[in-house]
Symmetry: C5
Subunit: 233 residues, 5 copies
Amino acid sequence: MAVYQTPDLTAASFSADLFGLAATTVLLLMGTAWIGKQWRLPVVLCALAALVGVGSVHEAREAWFAGQGVPVVYHYVGWAVSMPLQVMALFFLAGTAGKLSAGLFWRLVIVSMLMVFVRYLGEAAFMHPTLAFLIGLVFWLYLLGEFYFGRMDDVVRSSTGDTLRRGYFWLRLIVTIGWAIYPLGNFLTAFAGMTDDGSISVAYNVADILNRMAFGIAVLSTAVLSSEEKAGA
Amino acid sequence: MAVYQTPDLTAASFSADLFGLAATTVLLLMGTAWIGKQWRLPVVLCALAALVGVGSVHEAREAWFAGQGVPVVYHYVGWAVSMPLQVMALFFLAGTAGKLSAGLFWRLVIVSMLMVFVRYLGEAAFMHPTLAFLIGLVFWLYLLGEFYFGRMDDVVRSSTGDTLRRGYFWLRLIVTIGWAIYPLGNFLTAFAGMTDDGSISVAYNVADILNRMAFGIAVLSTAVLSSEEKAGA
Amino acid sequence: MAVYQTPDLTAASFSADLFGLAATTVLLLMGTAWIGKQWRLPVVLCALAALVGVGSVHEAREAWFAGQGVPVVYHYVGWAVSMPLQVMALFFLAGTAGKLSAGLFWRLVIVSMLMVFVRYLGEAAFMHPTLAFLIGLVFWLYLLGEFYFGRMDDVVRSSTGDTLRRGYFWLRLIVTIGWAIYPLGNFLTAFAGMTDDGSISVAYNVADILNRMAFGIAVLSTAVLSSEEKAGA
Amino acid sequence: MAVYQTPDLTAASFSADLFGLAATTVLLLMGTAWIGKQWRLPVVLCALAALVGVGSVHEAREAWFAGQGVPVVYHYVGWAVSMPLQVMALFFLAGTAGKLSAGLFWRLVIVSMLMVFVRYLGEAAFMHPTLAFLIGLVFWLYLLGEFYFGRMDDVVRSSTGDTLRRGYFWLRLIVTIGWAIYPLGNFLTAFAGMTDDGSISVAYNVADILNRMAFGIAVLSTAVLSSEEKAGA
Amino acid sequence: MAVYQTPDLTAASFSADLFGLAATTVLLLMGTAWIGKQWRLPVVLCALAALVGVGSVHEAREAWFAGQGVPVVYHYVGWAVSMPLQVMALFFLAGTAGKLSAGLFWRLVIVSMLMVFVRYLGEAAFMHPTLAFLIGLVFWLYLLGEFYFGRMDDVVRSSTGDTLRRGYFWLRLIVTIGWAIYPLGNFLTAFAGMTDDGSISVAYNVADILNRMAFGIAVLSTAVLSSEEKAGA
């Protein structure tokens, strides 16, 4: 392994992100033993999103150590798996409050996979970058639309659990704010011709604190508190 | 590790497949704690099929990074273990509905192992490729025959559980459609003289979404829903 | 890692053996949760034998990739640990039917360790190969004698459990037939001067399907069925 | 891997630290099964702090083997994750005695992260070292203030559990004494221009016995004894 | 990885030791689920001692493959962690029979750590080898004194459990006989100027069968039998 020096902020952010994601993965997997059975699936899905993050951040860091910047594809392979997992986590969390249709499930999973894939096609110049950027944006807005105005919002709103409502509110906020970095990064590298000299990777690594760590921990907290609420009721 | 660049779609598909299989493995292993005891064996077998996928995809990716295409043997070593595991998973899932004979079990396991092994012999030119291709095809058709017209279908059809019938229907469909890529790939490389410049690996990696991930998740869903059905009844 | 080509049957058999042993290990470890408490120890011991197989096969494969054939010592280091484990598994399985003496336990463990160690001494020419071969043979026959005519057979024969009797019958058969490959290989390499150009490793890898995988799965099946028998009684 | 010689005390201390942290991680993770449910979270957080230590010590050791001293950043990436984890562990341990506000939680987490980050900025000369040192000191004193005079101390003091009071007392002492090495190291390297020829790493490795191992074990002991106290009451 | 040849007994003993320790670790960790709660801690501590053995033997083997003999420090880093763990295991095992003082605990832990550390100082010539050897000897004799004539012996002797008395007897014997190899090795390398051409490592590897494997398994057996004794009573 190459040795990095103290002022190499990119390498430092990769390492800290790696440790943070590994800790999040183990915490969430342990946490599945602490909650009621209907909340286990969303928590495990968040753990898997963090686990996939461990893998992809590890490889991106290796690429950085090889000294040629980090090709954006290293981020996309991780998102291609972790984003559908997180969307599913949100779906099943909302699903603890009431019945959601299988059609909605498939729409969310497929749109989130396509969102990542289309952006990748643009980055790799397999598709016109502007077009790919715009399609990716539309997919992201569709997901936000479902989270804010779709059936999931209805079901959560009509739920009797205060904790679930509050949890869903925060998770949706994380998806709205935190995930905004991805179209932005997509815009900068595919569109504005910027290449990653490390600074974009730093931004993605910092964003992981919100998008993969805080997201998973918020799901676990919601699950723990909802389980207690239910047991207490 | 070699660093791959953004337009290297083959490497990207290997990495995403690897992460997806790892996530599937952990999900299914965690999931065994959520289901009734008779459904645990099929779920664990699917987890093992995904785990073997993690191993073989990892090695195929290394071969790709070494820059010489991916020798087809890398795929066959994985299938040699994961296909019998999946056939067993289907057998034991059907077996939750009624008694199946041990003879059927051994026929399924041995035919699925031979199917992969004969195809490999053809690919490696240890056997005449046309002959190997045809024998492999016969074995595949035999397996489909058992799934559609054999004792397993009878037992599932006479089952009282709606979930199991629906689950078996979808799993059989995955095996029919998804596994069709393997004789096709066998035909192209062993028969039509095509070598793998990466595009065949991409196809196999995409097929893994259906054959190793969706298959396992469908078994887990069937098991979870059947367990609830039974508990509720 | 070196890349191997499709016709390299030895490498392919190593990889498939590795995946099969890994899957067996995980299956048996998961399986300990499905069985009555007296059957857990034999199942875990078989899982450990498979785990040790993962380690030793992995290293033998590395040696093969380094291109100099596989020194036989790579097989012996694995057997030195896994054979006593399997003998213990058989001992504790028989021990579920009645009390067995601690003296028998120690004789079995020590003889099985010596059997492997003496053969190794012959292979490494630390001892005269013929002598080592013959001593190893005597130790093997002693083990078979205990399994067929000793106290373990008595105890199993007088057991009320049909499943246990049938399981013991099959396991003893695996040990009789499957383990016969080890004196044979010992004879060929240490005695008849054959060196391993890969074909002996292929034979050992194929034998692992019987000796380490089927053996462990037979122990798990016996344990599962005996647990149900007992719960049902 | 480079081979180190017997008089290389730095390498020896890295290896022993690594093994000690690995053992601590496994012990604490196993230990979560032995305690009441309210004590599981602090114990898991300490396990994660040790796990992160395994990762960062492993990498620091690699850097040492590469023969160029250990850039201080290797320590900081570990602390950036493990210190907030330990502060959270203390928070949730105190929280078993009474309600603590979410605001306090966020202040503790953010201050502990900033403490490490500001020190790193000083070490990397991104910020004036003196300024960074002083700000880091203020953050540390703030944390100590919360532990000694804040709400956590009140809650623990009013607790009925003797064990908890004693545990909190010792943990606070470890944080006070053990963590004093970090501003000291910061002072020496960033301020007094010392570079790490191995001796500072030895000091950090020895400090880990107190800060990451004894700390976690003290939390586990407190949890085990408190669980028994409660069960006995 | 370097490939070793069949007559390389040192490499073979390292590999077999590695597999044996790995199997012991997994067995003991699985075994914690089979025993009463007061016996879990000593069993886990023995598992950790074996786990640390896996790590240190792995690294010593790497050093051996690098072709320069095995610097003794590789053994000491493992002992520095595993010996205190085993002493603690014995302490907590005796502690199941009656109350032992915390002071005794600290004396045992600190003396066992110092014993290893002082010997290392002698080996590395940081301290006069004769002096270090003698101090190490005194520490070892102190530990034996506690085991034979101290409070632990009293408590075990007055225990009602036959199993515990027998287990303690054997464990103390292992510590007496098995650990005698460490001062002997210390004497030979630090004192008599012998360097390790592999033969000392073979001796340590063989001793591990007694000191790390049989020791842990004896603790597990004692725990299993004591749990049954108590449940039966």
